[in-house]
Structures are given as C-alpha cells and as structure tokens.
C-alpha cells in the first residue's frame, strides 16, 4: 500500500465509498435520502473519472466526466426530486426484508462479487483493476435494492445506481467504454427516467399508489387491489 501513488489511493477511496453508498441505499427508508445518495454516488463517480482521466491522460474520460456531471450529478437527481414533490411520495414502505437481514445478504453478495472479479482483475492491465470487484458488487447491490423495494420510485433509483456501477466497472476494467456506447447509454437512461416519470403518474392514476405490487394482479383483481390500496393509503 505504501508504494501506491496518492492519486491511486484517492481512487481506491472513491471505490470504497461507492461500495458504502450502495449499502446506504440498500438500507435507506426515505426516498428523498435515496435520491440524495444517488447524487452523491454520481459525484463520487465524477471524481473517480476525473482522477483517472488525469492519471492516464485519456481525453475521452474528460468528456464522460462532463456527461456524468450533467446527467448523474445534476439532472437526474433534480428530475427525481421534482417527481417526488409532484407525486408527494416521501416515504418508502418497509422493505421486504428487515434492514439487518438485507445488510447480511448484501455482505454475502459483496463476497461473491469479489470472488467473481478476481480472475477478471488478474487479466486486466489497468491501474484500477482491483476496483472491478467493487463495481460488480455495486451492480449486484443495486439489484437487491430493486428486488427488496415495492415502490416504483425506489426501483428506479436502484436502476440508476446499477447503471452507475456498470459505468464504474467499465472504467476500472478498460478505462471507459467507447464514446458512442457511453452516449447511447446516457441517452437511454435519460429517456428511461423521463418515460418512467410519465409512467409513475399513470400508475398512480390507475391504482392510487406507486406500489408495484398492484401490477402483479390481473385485470379482474385490479379493482380489489385498488380498494385495498385506498384502505392502505388512507
């Protein structure tokens, strides 16, 4: 460790904090905090990208840093906050598993991800190859976040955090994806969030709730679910 240059140490710190933020998301009950954590994750990603760009001298990484700043740090959190205000959903329901249980499952997933990443890291030649495990862990933890939440809002945040994990993975394994792919993914995410935002209103119009549980029942059952949800929400 003592041999590592300082910027690599900072990169490692960013990676460790990314992992921590994923856990914080996993255990967060309030949706407003969840969005703030997403913004913080984006900021960490931005710092990591800039550090890597400065270290390797890869120009296109600066471009993707700008993209991260515009989209992940600024626009998406702002958009989500606006949605929260307009939909008036400040609280998530209790996650399906209790918090301590979720944490333990998360830890097991991290161990699994680190094991999975070991052969990949051994083959990679980048300076940041050791963070590949963390990137995989972030992706898997976001999966769990999506699985254990009922509300549509938190699932979208989980989805965005997963994209952040993938981005970080690509960065650590190969210093970023080709620019065209990155733009494509960014556009996809942007459109997805906008479309999902419209979806939220539709879902709420139909069921008076953002609980995705209601979507599982067939049409005949929908009226029953609707009645249930009105009782639950009131």
């Amino acid at each position: 460790m003592t041999g590592l240059p300082f910027d690599l140490q900072l990169l490692n710190l960013c990676a460790a904090l990314l992992l921590l933020v994923s856990f914080a998301m996993l255990t967060q009950r309030r949706i407003v905090n969840l969005v703030n954590l997403l913004a913080f994750q984006g900021t960490l990603l931005l710092v990591a990208t800039l550090l890597l760009a400065w270290r390797t001298g890869q120009r296109h990484l600066y471009l993707s840093a700008v993209l991260t700043l515009a989209l992940k740090v600024t626009f998406l959190p702002w958009m989500l906050h606006r949605l929260i205000r307009r939909l008036e959903v400040y609280w998530d329901t209790e996650p399906l598993l209790n918090i301590s249980g979720t944490m333990l499952v998360g830890l097991l997933v991290v161990v699994f991800a680190f094991g999975l990443a070991q052969p990949i890291s051994a083959l990679a030649s980048t300076a940041t190859r050791s963070s590949i495990g963390i990137a995989i862990a972030v992706v898997l933890l976001s999966f769990i976040t999506m699985i254990t939440r009922r509300k549509a809002m938190s699932q979208v945040v989980g989805f965005l955090s997963m994209e952040n994990g993938l981005f970080f993975g690509a960065m650590s394994a190969t210093y970023g994806m080709p620019m065209i792919v990155e733009f494509g993914v960014a556009l996809d995410v942007l459109v997805a969030v906008i479309v999902l935002g419209i979806f939220f209103f539709q879902i709420r119009e139909q069921f008076d709730s953002l609980d995705l549980h209601h979507l599982e029942s067939l049409k005949e059952g929908a009226t029953v679910a609707q009645a249930d949800s009105i009782v639950e929400d009131s």
Binding site: M1, T2, L4, F6, Q9, L10, N12, L13, A15, A16, L17, L19, L20, F23, T27, I99, S100, M103, L104, G106, L107, V110, V111, F114, A117, S130, S131, G133, I134
Partner: protein, 316 residues
C-alpha cells in the same frame, strides 16, 4: 526489559485509574454545556466514588457470593485491560501475556460477571438489564473483533502494541479500510459503554435502561467499584481507538523518557477531543428503541466487514 518500560507500564495503569473518572466528568461537563445547562464539577465522579466508599454496604438477603465478588472481578478485568492497551508507550512488559483477541475476551469476562451478578438477586430489573446487555454484547463483539482483525492484517500481528507501533511509524497513506473500521469502532464504543443511541447513562427510566438496571442492587463500595469500572471501560475503549486509528505521538519501543513525557499531553489532548466529540454525538442523537439496537450494531458490523473486504480487495 528496560526500566523505562516498567515505568511506562506502571504509569499507564495509574493514569488509567486516575484519569478515567475525570474523563467521564469531562464528557458530562461538555454535554451540560451543549445542552445549555450549568455544568457539574469536573471532580464530581471522584466525589461520588469517595462518598460511596465511606458508606456501609447493603446487600440483598438472597445474594450469593457471586454478587459480592463480581465488582472486584469486573474492576480488576478493567485494570488488566488498561495494562495491556498502549496509551502512552508501546513497550509494555505485560502485553506479551495477552494480544488484542485476549483483550476482547477480557472485556467479555467483565460483561459476563456483571450480567450474572445482576441476575443473581432475581429482581426483574436486574434480569432485564442483564439480558439486554448480553444482546448488545453479542452483537457488538463480532464487530469489535473484525475491527481488530483489519488492523491486525495490515500490521500482520495481533499484538496490540505491535499494531500501534507499526501504524504509528508507517509511511502516511489513505486507508479506506481503517476509516470504515474507525466508524465501526465508534459505533461499538457507543453501544458497549451504554452511551446514548443505545442506552442513556444519566437516567433510571425503567423501560429503557440497560447498564443502570444491572447496578440497581449494588450499594456503597461495590457500587463505587462498578462505577469506577464503567469509567475505566470507557477510558479503555477510547485508548483502544487511539491505539488503532490515531497512534501518532505514542512513545515507541525505541522511546526515551522524553518521548514518554511528550506522549502524556498528546494523550490528554486526544481525550479532550474525543470527550467533546462523544458529548456532541450524545447531544445531537436520540436514544434508539431497544428493538432498533440490533440494527445499529448490524451497521457497525457492516462497516467492520466492509473495511475487511475492502482491505482484502484493494490492499488499502
């Protein structure tokens, strides 16, 4: 063994015994300031202990020998722990006898005897406190052990002085793993010393108390020893924290009397800062419901394990 080492050893034990109540007094004072109250005297804990030593002990009829002997066992366990934690110097003759894992065991012994003594009388409160204490203990202990493992892996030894010396003399580097462990350790410290998110040290409200519930049946010298031991425990935890995470300024094995002298004001400064910090944490946070305590300690465990995993993956 040098005479200086022996002096360091004796000095550390005396300092721990003498300063522990003062440290508690300092925390109480800071807390009172932060809460806009008039602060009690710094010397109040000493006066309390002296007063208790002058009183006659009242012991319940059904009490067994265990109840009488427990304060002495708990107190001596804490003194022994103070002897093997490097607070001023790392060249301590006693520490060859016990490493960091034995230290955790020593703290656990004290906890077991305290809980057994609380259950011994058979009152409802004692049993309640003992059960809660054991619940907190069994959740906090793994976290504490993993925190120690992280530092042990970095220094490739489980001997606390060697870990401290290694970390103190090493080239300065960013250790995310140690930062995570430090957070985990702080949470464990709060839980284990009956501080606010888990227990409130200054209340006797039946439904929430843990530590105080166990001491309800004690009086006079027994109570004095128990309270002194609690102060020592807090002091010990603070010193473990210094030894693992801010070891700078400690007198190493090549130390001279001068470095030993220099380490004393440094230790005092660290204690002042940590005491104020603890008071701040206790002022800004609310006490958790007892059923939320596992969540709190699971967070500590999570931080500790994340530290370990991050260290194994990144080598940092």
């Amino acid at each position: 063994m040098r005479t200086l080492d022996l002096i360091t050893q004796v000095l550390e034990i005396i300092a721990a015994l003498a300063v522990a109540p003062l440290f508690v007094g300092w925390i109480n004072q800071c807390r009172a300031w932060l809460q806009n109250r008039r602060a009690p005297s710094l010397w109040l804990p000493y006066r309390g202990i002296r007063k208790l030593f002058h009183k006659d002990a009242v012991i319940a009829e059904r009490a067994s020998g265990l109840f009488r002997i427990a304060p002495y066992i708990v107190f001596s366990a804490m003194v022994l722990a103070a002897a093997i934690i490097p607070s001023m110097g790392t060249a301590l003759p006693f520490t060859t006898a016990a490493d960091a894992i034995a230290l955790v065991g020593l703290l656990a012994t004290a906890r077991v005897f305290q809980s057994l003594a609380a259950m011994d009388i058979g009152t409802a409160f004692g049993t309640l406190g003992a059960r809660r204490e054991m619940m907190v203990g069994f959740l906090a202990e793994p976290a504490l052990l993993i925190v120690i493992f992280v530092a042990s892996i970095i220094s490739a030894t489980t001997a606390l002085p060697a870990i401290t010396e290694n970390l103190a003399t090493q080239h300065l580097a960013l250790y995310p793993s140690l930062a995570f462990s430090a957070i985990a350790f702080t949470l464990v410290l709060l839980a284990e010393n009956a501080r606010i998110p888990i227990d409130n040290p200054s209340t006797h409200l039946e439904l929430t108390m843990i530590h105080e519930a166990m001491l309800l049946e004690y009086s006079a010298r027994h109570l004095a020893l128990m309270e002194w031991a609690a102060a020592l425990k807090l002091f010990n935890y603070a010193c473990i924290g210094f030894a693992l995470f801010v070891p700078w300024g400690i007198s190493t094995s090549e130390g001279t009397p001068l470095t030993l002298l220099a380490s004393i004001p440094l230790l005092a400064g660290k204690l002042l800062i940590v005491g104020a910090g603890l008071a701040l944490v206790e002022t800004v946070s609310a006490k958790l419901r007892v059923f939320r305590a596992p969540e709190f300690l699971a967070t500590a465990f999570l931080f500790a394990v994340l530290g370990l995993l991050v260290h194994l993956l990144l080598g940092a």
